[in-house]
Amino acid sequence: MSTATDTVNTNPDSHGHDSHDDHHHHIPKGLMRWVLTTNHKDIGTLYLWFAFIMFLVGGAMAMVIRAELFQPGLQIVEPNFFNQMTTVHGLIMVFGAVMPAFTGLANWLIPMMIGAPDMALPRMNNWSFWILPFAFLILLSSLFVEGGGPAFGWTFYAPLSTTYSGDSTALFVFSVHIMGISSIMGAINVIVTIFNMRAPGMTYMKMPLFVWTWLITAFLLIAVMPVLAGVVTMVLTDKYFGTSFFDAAGGGDPVLFQHIFWFFGHPEVYIMILPAFGIISQIVPTFSRKKLFGYASMVYATASIALLSFIVWAHHMFTTGMPVFAEMFFMIATMIIAVPTGVKVFNWVATMWRGSISFEIPMLFAIAFIILFTIGGLSGLMLAITPVDFQYHDTYFVVAHFHYVLVTGAVFSIMAAVYYWLPKWTGRMFDITLAKWHFWCSLISVNVLFFPMHFVGLAGMPRRIPDYALQFADFNKWISVGGFAFGLSQLIFLALVIKACRKKGEKVSSQVWEGAEGLEWEIPSPAPYHTFDTPPTVK
């Protein structure tokens, strides 16, 4: 197995900057390389592929949902199965696709951006990753348990998830437990790496924004994933051990579940967007050929969003009958988040202002992100207005809101990041024609998919229903068509990434993009297996 001495024997003079470094470390071959690896780049790749596969799986479930909703009436699936699809789609996209994708990017990029040889705790890094495929194997296989998989929404409100749920609930609970363990370890690794592994001269206020946003995200993760673990534990004991946390007869309260869940859940949604802000803050300056506007205020804004995220959770619970002063408090706290988020949007626009802008693929995605995320953010602001949320709550208006921030927000930012750094990872330019097709098809179809959801939501279509009243029929047809088109567009992306991984395409220089700045652009492309054995000095 790993003989520790190997690493130590490597030439101490080797410089991260030249690729002859590779000769000193043999890169292990075959399947076992991936299973046993401690290399942050390998692990980053694993995370990214895993996330992509989960995106396809979760997307396939969304296709089932959209197919059933294509027309009124029940045609393809039974209501119970429909609910399983909705639930598992939400869970997979959130915990299986978006979060691991960001962790994969963190693994690849943070050490390269701060000049570290690897993540601070490389073995634990491997453990964090390999828990995930098992966790999702359990979750997916629970669909085949008698009575079906979880069918209570990704928010698993009690008592639907306790007294009234199927036998697969225990599997669901334990799979959430272990994916929580994975996230916490991943986050600890990120924090420790950033605190402790920066190259000399890389002060906090010199760190690239992607690193900053991830630092704050990691803090959120460590703060709230254990709370999720706590609440699933209570679900488990309520269901199987006769406790009554969420049962009034024993002095508990079903709404208690929602408070604990959303105390986790709201920071969770920012966990899925803060790294995206970081990515956009890397990409926009590059293609505007101008320094990021308001670096310091970006950092403060990120921190403010994170802090505020702990005191807004009950905006998901306006209809639960909280006392009116609580509703008021959560309304106002939620609205305030628009301010730091606005600062970010304005800073990006100001960065583009009087820049020298060019529209390479990553920039296209970044621009789409800024516009579409803002649309999603503004609808979020409408949701925050309590009296009107009574009308919006649990309708497709909410579904439209969160797909704008999640799909055209988080997912688009991930795609932007992949396009931006893929040449650095593979050493070759990706297929630009395919990429353009991917972008434009996605952009158009995603809006056909999610924009009309605002309309059906306002007109009164509840979410999580397999069948609907006739006045929603026209729009739902278009939503489904948009959905299929968006799904197919992602197959272009799949083709492109496979092609890139097989090292097709033109070789690129170490800087790749004309305006790119940062340590990762100073090392060769593809980035050598080990970088920065000797830390660079940052001026």
Partner: protein, 382 residues
């Protein structure tokens, strides 16, 4: 045609939303309804205010951005400037949004206070959700009933054409008077449901074990339709709410009539206790009751849903020699499961019939007959 209309609306977002919203007082395909209460109209006003402010912000932000993208693009020969800070601008775009938010929050807070003021109601209705129906109880009168989906299963299964109010129709709507402050006490027997009537801007969760309060004061008589708005299991999508608002005099007449009907039903029940129904009668009524009430869970073929709802076909309780467990589970339900007590929802003769049906349908050929008096014996120990 209708699609063209709406697609057009989607394209030219703003004006059609306004005009459609105002013209179609009950239903719009793309916007919130102004509704029929003062509160719902205030809410609609807030919604439109929010909408326009958001549009304005979006136009400004995207406008500046597109201007930069066109004017300051490299291919047009733009050279990058090198500013990256400007304290004044940064303060401005922190403070201005704050002011906008305050402008939003003030009217919102005042509407909210009105909505949550449930004091001094003219009448009170207890609304109880359960999987998957609503139960209404008039607290000041001796009237209570269940309200379940009236759409035929064949329509849902695409065998019959769908009626106009597909999925939004119930067997017994809630009736309330116009011009009166009606208070709703909302709760649930099992999981969380949410009672929602868009035209009243009332949506409140029905939490088991707790009572939430809401109120409305309807201006116009009419039929108002809504749906359960909290995922409550398999048939969450099939749990509509229908409310009829009537002029107060009409309402008074209605409620008196309902009390009389309830009285007659009790007498009928007593009369039936003394009678025996024939097997055929039992089986016909039993099938009706089963299909409309029990089949949601135990399935029309009696096979249930493996792992969630047990099969009645071949079940030990439904085929055992002892009738009591079978009667018990329907009369009392089973605590902590979705199998609730049906004593309130069904009459004794209906319970007798459905048990007989369960014991003889789908090959459960026990030959047993259960009569209303057997149920009475269990329920009242007679």
């Amino acid at each position: 045609m209708k699609f063209l209309q709406t697609a057009f609306g989607a394209l030219l977002l703003s004006t059609p939303i306004m005009s459609l919203a105002q013209s179609a007082s009950e239903r719009s395909n793309i916007n919130l309804r102004p509704g029929v209460t003062d509160i719902s109209q205030q809410v609609f006003g807030l919604h439109m205010m929010m909408f326009w402010i958001c549009v304005a912000i979006a136009v400004i932000v995207f406008g500046v951005m597109f201007y930069a993208m066109i004017k300051h693009r490299k291919s047009a020969g733009a050279k990058p400037a090198n500013f990256h800070e400007n304290v004044k601008v940064e303060i401005a775009w922190t403070v201005v949004p704050f002011l906008i938010l305050i402008a939003m929050a003030v009217p919102a807070a005042s509407t909210l206070l009105d909505m949550e003021d449930v004091s001094k109601p003219d009448l009170t209705v207890l609304v109880t959700g359960s999987q998957w129906k609503w139960h209404y109880k008039y607290m000041d009168n001796d009237v209570e009933f269940f309200s379940t989906l009236a759409t035929q299963p064949e329509q849902i299964r695409n065998k019959f054409t769908k009626s106009e109010n597909y999925l939004l129709e119930v067997d017994r709507p809630l009736v309330i008077p116009t011009g009166k402050k009606v208070r709703f006490l909302i709760t649930s027997d099992d999981v969380i449901h949410s009672w929602w009537v868009p035209d009243f801007a009332v949506k409140k969760d029905a939490n088991p074990g707790f009572i939430n309060e809401a109120w409305t004061n309807v201006n116009e008589p009419g039929v108002y339709r809504g749906q359960c708005a909290e995922l409550c299991g398999k048939d969450h999508g099939f749990m509509p709410v229908v409310v009829i608002a009537m002029e107060p005099e009409e309402y008074e007449a209605w409620i008196v009539e309902q009390e009389a009907i309830a009285q007659r039903a009790r007498e009928e029940e007593q009369r039936l206790l003394a009678m025996n129904m024939s097997m055929e009668e039992l089986m016909t009524t039993g099938k009706q009751v089963y299909d409309s009430v029990c089949a949601a869970c135990h399935m029309p073929n009696g096979e249930g849903l493996a792992g969630v709802f047990p099969a009645i076909k071949g079940s030990a309780i439904a085929t055992g020699d002892d009738l009591n467990p079978h009667i018990d589970i329907i009369v009392y339900g089973k605590a902590g499961t979705a199998m609730q007590s049906f004593a309130k929802q069904l009459t004794m003769s209906e319970i007798a019939a459905v048990i007989t049906y369960q014991r003889n349908a789908w090959g459960n050929n026990t030959g047993d007959m259960v009569q209303a008096k057997d149920i009475n014996a269990v329920m009242n120990g007679e």
